[in-house]
C-alpha cells in the first residue's frame, strides 16, 4: 500500500478526478479504437476469419504456417530487416550531417533549413508519384545525371539489384525531420563546453567526438527509436513505387500484411492478424533492446557520473 495514497486529501482527489475527466476523451479513444481492435485482432489471429463468414477457431495453425512454411512471409521479414539495417543508419548519419552543416549562424540559413524540411511535409503517396518520374530510365533526372557522367543508366524500379536502394533513397529524402530534432539538440549544447574543449586542445574532430556527440545522445536515441519503428513499417513508398513491378525484392512485412488482408480473394483476416502480432513482438523486442542498452551510451545532463 503506497503511503502517498493514504495521504491524498480531498483537494488532491478533486484534482485527480479533473485530470481523468480531461483525459477521458483520449483514454476512451485509446480503449475503443486501439486496445479494443488489438484484442480483437489477437482473437482473430487464432481463427481463419475471412470477413464474410463467422470466424472458425484454428488454434496456432496461422502462426505455425507463418513461421515454418510461408516463404513469402520470410522474404518480407528479410526485406524489412534490410531496410532497417541499411536504411536507418544512413538516415541517422545524414540527418546528423545536415544538422551539423546547417547549424552555422549564417545569413539566410533558415531558408536552407526550410528546404531540407519541406520534403517531410509531402504526403508519402504524392512523393511516391514524384519519385516514379525521377526514377524513370528514359526521362528521369537520376538517369539523366548518370548519362551526363557517362555512367551506365540504372533501371531503378525494375532491376532487382536496385529496387531496394531506390526505396531507401526515397526514404532518405525525408532526413529533414531528423535534422530539425538534431538542430534543436545542437543548439542546446552550451558554448562553455566547446570553449573548455578548445582550451584543452581539442580540434574539430575532438570537439565533435567529446562534446557534440555525447551531448546529442538523447536526440540520437529518440531518432533511433522513432526511426526503427518507421523503417520497420515502410509501406507507402513500396505500394506506390514497386508493387506493380515484377520481383518481390521490396515486399516488406507491412505490404505483405496488406496483401494478405485485402489483396487476396478471401480477405484472410485471421492470417493477417497473426502476421500483425508476430511483427508487434519483433518491433517491441527491437525497441526494448535499444532502450535497454541505451543506458550505456546515452548521457543525460543532470545525472551524476559514477566515478
Amino acid at each position: 500500500m503506497l503511503p502517498i495514497a493514504r495521504s491524498i486529501g480531498p483537494k488532491r482527489r478533486r484534482e485527480a478526478i479533473a485530470f481523468y475527466l480531461f483525459a477521458s476523451p483520449w483514454i476512451l479513444g485509446f480503449l475503443i479504437w486501439t486496445v479494443g481492435p488489438m484484442l480483437a485482432s489477437l482473437y482473430f489471429s487464432f481463427t481463419n476469419y475471412d470477413l464474410f463468414s463467422a470466424p472458425q477457431w484454428v488454434g496456432w495453425q496461422n502462426y505455425v504456417d507463418l513461421i515454418t512454411t510461408d516463404q513469402e512471409f520470410h522474404h518480407a521479414i528479410f526485406n524489412t530487416f534490410y531496410f532497417v539495417i541499411v536504411g536507418l543508419p544512413i538516415n541517422l548519419i545524414l540527418a546528423l550531417g545536415t544538422a551539423l552543416l546547417l547549424n552555422e549562424r549564417l545569413h539566410g540559413i533558415t531558408i536552407f533549413r526550410a528546404i531540407y524540411y519541406v520534403p517531410t511535409l509531402v504526403p508519402a503517396v504524392a512523393s511516391g508519384v514524384l519519385w516514379i518520374s525521377l526514377f524513370d530510365p528514359q526521362y528521369g533526372m537520376l538517369d539523366a545525371a548518370l548519362r551526363f557522367l557517362h555512367l551506365p543508366t540504372i533501371d531503378w524500379l525494375t532491376d532487382p539489384t536496385w529496387t531496394k536502394p531506390a526505396i531507401i533513397i526515397t526514404l532518405i529524402w525525408g532526413v529533414g525531420g531528423g535534422m530539425i530534432i538534431y538542430l534543436a539538440g545542437l543548439q542546446n549544447i552550451p558554448e562553455y563546453l566547446y570553449d573548455a574543449a578548445k582550451i584543452d586542445g581539442a580540434g574539430i574532430w575532438g570537439r565533435f567526438r567529446f562534446v557534440t556527440l555525447p551531448m546529442l545522445t538523447p536526440s540520437i536515441l529518440f531518432q533511433l527509436v522513432i526511426g526503427l519503428i518507421a523503417f520497420f513499417q515502410v509501406f507507402d513508398q513500396i505500394y506506390v513505387l514497386t508493387s506493380n513491378q515484377p520481383g518481390d525484392d521490396t515486399i516488406t512485412f507491412m505490404y505483405y500484411l496488406f496483401q494478405t488482408a485485402f489483396g487476396s480473394e478471401t480477405n484472410q483476416m485471421g492470417y493477417a492478424s497473426a502476421q500483425a502480432w508476430i511483427f508487434f513482438v519483433i518491433v517491441m523486442a527491437a525497441t526494448a533492446l535499444v532502450l535497454k542498452t541505451s543506458a550505456r551510451w546515452v548521457f543525460y545532463e543532470g545525472e551524476r557520473e559514477t566515478a
Binding site: 478533486r14 478526478i17 479533473a18 475527466l21 480531461f22 477521458s24 476523451p25 475471412d50 470477413l51 464474410f52 463468414s53 504456417d65 507463418l66 512454411t69 510461408d70 516463404q71 513469402e72 512471409f73 530510365p137 528514359q138 533501371d155 525494375t158 532491376d159 513491378q245 515484377p246 520481383g247 518481390d248 485485402f262 489483396g263 487476396s264 480473394e265 478471401t266 480477405n267 492470417y271
Partner: protein, 442 residues
C-alpha cells in the same frame, strides 16, 4: 462541485456530444419523396467505362421513372479492397458488378449475394441468349448469383504499317506463322531482320511480337491448344489440382520464352517495362491483350492497326473469354428495384444501349454480332467475337485466386525473366499452387 470540476465536466460533455454527432452518418440509399427508390450500383472501371455506364443509367432511369441509380466506382484494385469491407460493414452498394472467375466462391458461397434462380424463372429471362462460355461462371452450386453483363476476349493486335513495310498483309492465324512473321518484323539498328545474316540481337530497335507473362490471357489458352490445362477438369469438382507442370505446360511456356531468349523476336520483361504500352509506342508489331483494353489502342494516331483472334496451334483453337455479371446484395432493402436494374442490364434494351456506347462486348450473342456494336470497331472484331466459342473455362473454386496468383508470380518473376529454367519454374509453381489449394500458405 467546484468551478474547476464543473468546467472539466462541461468540457467532457461537449466532447462526448461532438463525438456522437460525428458518428452519425447517412446511408447510401433510401426512399425519396413521391415513391422513388434510390439504389446504388458499384463497379470498377476506367474513365471511359464509367462515362459509358452513366449513359446506361440515364437510359434506364428514362424507362423506369421510379428508380434512381447512383454509381460507386473505383479502379480495379481498389474495388476489391473496398467491396469486402463494405459488405462486412453492411454498407455495400445494393447491386454491383462481380468478376466471377476469382470471387464467386467467396461472395456467393458466404451468402452475400441473392440467389437469382426464382427471379430468372418468374420473369422468363432466357439464359440461352447469352454466350454459353460465360454462363457456367455465374453459377455456384447449381444456382445463378449474377446475370451476365458483358464478356471480354483476348485479341491479337497488329501494326498494319510495320506489316506492310515487311511485305505482310494479314495477321498470322497460327503461332507458327506468328513466329515466322515476327522474325521478319524484328529489326536491328542496321535494318536487318531476324532471318538475315548478321542480325544483331543486342541492338534491336523493333520487335515482331511482345511476349509477356499473362497467365489466363496467353499461357492458359496456349497450354490448352497444346493439349494441357492449368487445372484438373472439371473445375467444379471438389479437390481441383494445378497441373501446369505437364508436357503441354512446359512446351507452351518454353515457346513463349523462346520468343524472347532464343528467337529474339520479343523484348525482355525489363525492356517491356520501359513502356506504358509497348504496342502503342510502335516498338512491337504484334501484341496480345484483352478487349477491355481497346480504349488504350483507340488512342493511337501514328499508325494503322487491326485485331485478329488468338493464334491457333496445330489447328487447335483456344482463347480467353471472361464474362462479368451483376449481382444483388443480399442485405439490400430494395431487392425488387435492384432486380429491375440487373435484369435491364442483361435485356435487349440495356444491351443495345451498351452496344452503342463503349467497348464492352454484350453478353447477348446477337447484340455482340449486330451492326450497332460492330460499327466503329476494328474490322477484325467480328472474328475476335466469333472466337468466344473457344474460350477456356472461367470458373472459381476454393483458393483459386491465391493459387493462380502464385503461379503467375513464379512465372513472371523467375521464368519469363530468364532467372529459372521452365522446368524448375513450373515445378515450383505447381507445388506451391497445390499447397495453397489445400489451404496452406507458401
Amino acid at each position: 462541485m467546484t468551478s474547476g470540476l464543473r468546467r472539466a465536466a462541461q468540457v467532457a460533455a461537449g466532447g462526448i456530444m461532438a463525438l456522437a454527432l460525428a458518428a452519425c452518418g447517412s446511408s447510401g440509399s433510401g426512399n425519396g419523396a413521391s415513391g422513388t427508390t434510390s439504389i446504388s450500383y458499384g463497379r470498377w472501371g476506367s474513365a471511359d467505362e464509367i462515362a459509358a455506364n452513366k449513359v446506361l443509367f440515364t437510359a434506364f432511369e428514362k424507362s423506369h421513372k421510379t428508380i434512381k441509380v447512383t454509381q460507386q466506382v473505383a479502379d480495379w484494385n481498389t474495388y476489391w479492397t473496398k467491396l469486402p469491407t463494405q459488405l462486412a460493414a453492411g454498407q455495400a452498394p445494393d447491386t454491383f458488378l462481380l468478376d466471377p472467375g476469382y470471387y464467386q466462391v467467396h461472395y456467393a458461397g458466404s451468402g452475400k449475394l441473392v440467389n437469382l434462380d426464382s427471379l430468372i424463372k418468374r420473369d422468363h429471362v432466357n439464359m440461352n441468349q447469352f454466350w454459353p462460355q460465360e454462363i457456367p461462371s455465374f453459377r455456384f452450386q447449381g444456382h445463378y448469383y449474377e446475370l451476365p453483363r458483358d464478356i471480354s476476349v483476348n485479341m491479337l493486335i497488329w501494326n498494319k504499317n510495320l506489316f506492310a513495310k515487311a511485305g505482310l498483309t494479314q495477321a498470322p492465324s497460327s503461332w507458327q506463322q506468328l513466329l515466322h512473321d515476327a522474325q521478319l518484323l524484328t529489326l536491328d539498328n542496321k535494318g536487318r531482320n531476324a532471318t538475315q545474316a548478321g542480325f544483331d540481337p543486342q541492338h534491336i530497335v523493333q520487335w515482331g511480337y511482345g511476349s509477356y507473362e499473362y497467365l489466363d490471357g496467353i499461357d492458359e489458352p496456349l497450354i490448352t491448344e497444346m493439349g494441357g490445362h492449368l487445372w484438373t477438369q472439371p473445375e467444379t469438382a471438389s479437390n481441383v489440382q494445378c497441373i501446369v507442370d505437364s508436357p503441354a505446360g512446359r512446351q507452351a511456356i518454353t515457346f513463349l520464352t523462346d520468343l524472347i531468349y532464343k528467337y529474339h523476336v520479343s523484348p525482355t520483361p525489363t525492356q517491356l517495362g520501359h513502356y506504358q504500352n509497348i504496342f502503342a509506342s510502335g516498338k512491337v508489331a504484334m501484341y496480345i491483350d484483352g478487349t477491355f483494353d481497346l480504349p488504350v489502342y483507340e488512342g493511337i494516331k501514328t499508325f494503322k492497326w487491326d485485331v485478329a483472334r488468338f493464334p491457333s496451334w496445330n489447328g487447335r483453337e483456344a482463347t480467353m473469354a471472361q464474362g462479368v455479371g451483376n449481382a444483388i446484395n443480399a442485405a439490400s432493402s430494395h431487392q425488387s428495384a435492384d432486380w429491375t436494374l440487373v435484369k435491364w442490364f442483361s435485356s435487349t434494351q440495356g444491351q443495345k444501349v451498351m452496344s452503342s456506347h463503349g467497348i464492352n462486348i454484350p453478353s447477348i450473342q446477337s447484340m455482340a454480332l449486330s451492326p450497332t456494336f460492330l460499327q466503329g470497331k476494328p474490322s477484325g472484331m467480328r472474328s475476335v467475337i466469333d472466337s468466344i466459342r473457344y474460350g477456356v473455362p472461367y470458373l472459381d473454386f476454393p483458393h483459386k485466386a491465391d493459387a493462380f496468383n502464385y503461379v503467375d508470380t513464379v512465372l513472371t518473376n523467375s521464368v519469363f525473366t530468364g532467372h529459372t529454367s521452365v522446368a524448375a519454374g513450373l515445378k515450383k509453381a505447381q507445388d506451391g499452387a497445390n499447397t495453397i489449394l489445400k489451404g496452406g500458405h507458401v
